[in-house]
Amino acid sequence: MPDGAYNYAYLDEQTKRMIRRAILKAVAVPGYQVPFGGREMPLPYGWGTGGIQVTAAIIGQDDTLKVIDQGADDTTNAVSIRRFFARVADVDTTTRTEEATIIQTRHRVPETPLQEGQILVFQVPIPEPLRMLEPRETETRTLHALSEYGVMQVSLYESIARHGRIAKTYNYPVLVNGRYMMSPSPIPKFDNPKLDRNPALQLYGAGREKRIYAVPPYTPVKSLDFDDHPFEIETWEQCCALCGSKASFLDEMIVDDEGQRLFVCSDTDYCEERRK
C-alpha cells in the first residue's frame, strides 16, 4: 500500500485525539488504568499494539525513536515497529538511549539513565495487576477505587511462606504515588527501581484490553514488600562477558555444543557503548 494511503502516524486524527485525551487523564491520575476506544492496528496483539497506539498518538517529525524488545534493538519485533514508524511517521530512529526522545519498549527499561523530556512507552500485555487473583473486572475496579490491595499482599506473603522469598521475578507489582497498584508490564523486577522518581514520562499501553496508564516524571513508584522481607533485585556472580558490566541485567547464553554458558547484558545499546 502506498504511504499516501495512510494518515500521518497511521491513526486517523479522531482516534489520536481520543488516545491523547486518555493519556492526559492517565498522567493526571498516576497508575490508574484509563479505558480508551482503540482502533485495530495492522499487527497481531502480541506485537505490542497498545504501545504502538500510544506512540502513534504522540510521535511527530521532530522525534527520534528507539524501540527495544527484551533490551535489544535488533529483534524482529523491535525492527518491524521501528520501520513502521520510520515509514508512517517520517521520524529518525536510533539505537542510542540518550539520543531518543521516545523509547518504545517490551520487557525492559534501558540501563542508561533517562532524562527529563524523554518518553518511555511500554507495551503491556495484561494491564490489571490483580487479574490473576481476581478475574472479575467489576471487582478489581472496586478494589482500585478503595485502594484495597490486601489480596495482593496475601498472595505475596503466601509466596514467602512457600518459597522463603517472593518468587515473582517479572511483572512485580508496584504502588504509584502511594495510591494505585500498577503492573509495570513484564519487565524484570531488576528494572522496578528505575521506575521510581524517573525524570522521564512513563506511558503504558495495553492493546487487547484498551487501557492506558502513566507515571509522571519524579513520581514515587514503590515495589510491594514486607518489613521482614524487603524488596530485592536480582544479582549475578558473573559480570557481562562482553563489556564487563557488573551493574546491568544479564541474559544467559549457551555458546557451544558442550553447553558452556556466558552471561551478557540484555541491553544491547548499553553493552555496545561500554565496549567503545
Binding site: R17, I23, Y32, P35, R141, A145, Y180, P217, Y218
Partner: protein, 194 residues
C-alpha cells in the same frame, strides 16, 4: 463562513506539536509551556485556549462556555472546526472554557467517580498572566520536590476550591490555565500552598 477564523493550518502535524506541549505541561505541573505555532485566538479567547480546543476537543467531547465566551464567533468556530456539542449545563461538559471570575467555584463540573475517575471535566481557565501573580508553591506527581507558580488574576476562592478539588483525588477536575500562547497545567493531584 468566509469570516470564520482559521483552524490548524496543517492539522496532523500542528495538533501533534500542540499536544506534545500540552502533555509536557501535564507532565510538569506549574511549568509555563509555550504552544508552538498556536493559531490566532478566536473572539475573546487567547491563542493558547484556542489551540487547546483545536487539539483536543471534538464531536465526542461536550464543551461548556462561560457566559463571557458564549458568543457567535466562538460558537461558530467551535462547531465548524471541532464539531463539539456546546452544552448548557456544566455537568454535561468534558471540557469547559472559563473566565477567572467563573473559576471562583469549581462546583457543577464532572469530577468522575471512584471506579472511573477519568470521567471528569478539564477546565481551561483564561488568566491575564501566568508569571506576574502572587507566588504559590506546588507539590505532587510530575514535580521534583517543589515548584513555584505565579498565576495572576484568579480570585482567592479559586485556590480554596482547588484545595477541596485536590482532596477529592482520584476524582476531581483538571485545570489548564491559559494566557496569550502559553499554558500551565494543574492536574487534580497537585497540592498548592501560598
Amino acid at each position: 463562513m468566509t469570516d470564520l477564523a482559521r483552524g490548524l493550518a496543517d492539522p496532523a502535524h500542528d495538533a501533534q506539536r500542540l499536544f506534545r506541549a500540552v502533555l509536557d505541561g501535564f507532565s510538569h505541573p506549574g511549568r509555563i509551556v509555550a504552544l508552538p505555532q498556536a493559531p490566532a485566538g478566536v473572539g475573546p479567547l487567547s491563542a493558547a485556549a484556542t489551540a487547546f480546543v483545536l487539539t483536543l476537543v471534538d464531536r465526542d467531547t461536550p464543551l461548556w462556555l462561560a457566559p463571557a465566551f458564549d458568543r457567535d464567533a466562538v460558537r461558530d468556530f467551535v462547531r465548524f472546526h471541532t464539531g463539539a456539542p456546546i452544552v448548557a449545563r456544566e455537568a454535561e461538559a468534558l471540557f469547559a472554557l472559563l473566565t477567572p471570575d467563573r473559576a471562583a467555584t469549581l462546583d457543577g463540573f464532572a469530577i468522575g467517580s471512584d471506579p472511573y475517575p477519568d470521567r471528569s471535566a478539564t477546565l481551561i481557565v483564561e488568566v491575564p498572566s501566568l508569571s506576574t501573580g502572587p507566588e504559590r508553591f506546588l507539590r505532587g506527581p510530575g514535580i521534583q520536590s517543589r515548584t513555584t507558580a505565579r498565576v495572576d488574576g484568579l480570585p482567592d476562592s479559586f485556590w480554596s476550591e482547588w484545595k477541596a478539588n485536590n482532596a477529592l483525588f482520584p476524582c476531581g477536575v483538571d485545570v489548564v490555565l491559559t494566557a496569550c500562547s502559553e499554558l500551565l497545567a494543574l492536574p487534580r493531584g497537585i497540592v498548592v500552598e501560598a
